[in-house]
Symmetry: C2
Subunit: 247 residues, 2 copies
Amino acid sequence: MISKNKLKELAAYRQQKRCDEEAVFVVEGPKMAAEAMASGFAVKVLCATEEWRAESGERRAESGEFYEVSQAELERLSNMRTPNQVWMLVERPDNSSLITHHSSLVLALDRIQDPGNMGTIMRTADWYGIRHIVCSQDTVSCYNPKVVQASMGAIFRTRVDYVDLPQWLAGCGMPVYGATLDGEPITELSSRNTEPSVLLIGNEGRGISAEALAAVTRPVTIPNRGGTAESLNASVAAAILIDRLIG
Amino acid sequence: MISKNKLKELAAYRQQKRCDEEAVFVVEGPKMAAEAMASGFAVKVLCATEEWRAESGERRAESGEFYEVSQAELERLSNMRTPNQVWMLVERPDNSSLITHHSSLVLALDRIQDPGNMGTIMRTADWYGIRHIVCSQDTVSCYNPKVVQASMGAIFRTRVDYVDLPQWLAGCGMPVYGATLDGEPITELSSRNTEPSVLLIGNEGRGISAEALAAVTRPVTIPNRGGTAESLNASVAAAILIDRLIG
């Protein structure tokens, strides 16, 4: 059972601003909830339907508040069109305390705007073992609910930093691959990249900003075989480049 | 100007069923509208704001009805959250009359459900020069408005057939690549595929159906380098496989 007041209080977290202020994020659905509980991230609040409790066998988070809710109550909390059994509020980790896992490739995102693209890029990075993503300040928040859901759990396994990107790139001390229109065809790279490097992905419509582009030391291009399409989706381009570099 | 009755009549095309019955589809936004008009597809109705006429310089479709509409009227017609200057109703082509453009790879889609994925796959295929996509009957319609928009114009350049997929695959006479969990690592394929082949992509959550899987002659796998992620997004997996096969 949940009181009307508590429900109202929690429904306020549908506003991203509220989540930002309290350094929490919303996680939904049984699959993501299971990942959250296994991740070691602190679960502050867990709301779930009776159905979830029956199926998951009383798998409550160890700490935090727990409320059983009806489907209608879940709908008041949820950001999704069809809320699915569980809604939880999870604490954001303190990045400065996180050990940066080393992977051969660091992803740098310049002004990615679409939450679906951002989440999908995180999911792809996770598949390839990339543990560190560095973003320009105006890239969509990785704690946006749509990003969290599209990441399919990568949010719990990836360090994401928001920085002054041109400055970070200039000082990172690694070669920087960046997708441009007239770079080396990615299909002609001799072999898998093994030295620590950065792959820079630009904005959906406008590509890499001039300031960030200045730091690109290895411009690469995905050849346009068809000759008719104008561009690739940003998360698709990122995936093809990641695969060619470290797949 | 548009009459109230006409607006009501056209707003009915927000229902996919209505579009299906009349073999038309909705195209929105100046970029897609320009592609539609350049495509040779028949434009039945074009509704646009004054802004569009000013910017595009009276670029009406040669045939079909034209109505100038207000932003509020455009919102009544549109499937989009932020309608953008133009809405049009375009006739679906008769596939049986289309010449199948030859490309070295035919895409086969087994039960792709998400319109964003479907459109993104079409867009990626277009980039790689793939002109023919064959879908199982229960794959999302390529004329779904979200598919059309996500295809970024590929809808005007791609033949899409809906067929009994297992039967089509069994009779196609080409090798069939299919993404499975224990296929040959795609990274170890010796070189670009040049013989006519089929690449089969499965459903987002459930993969390739048992019936379609029986027709796969070349099972391939995208190696899971990270070891933590459970899967890749379907449109991302399709892109990586297409790139490895014909990129």
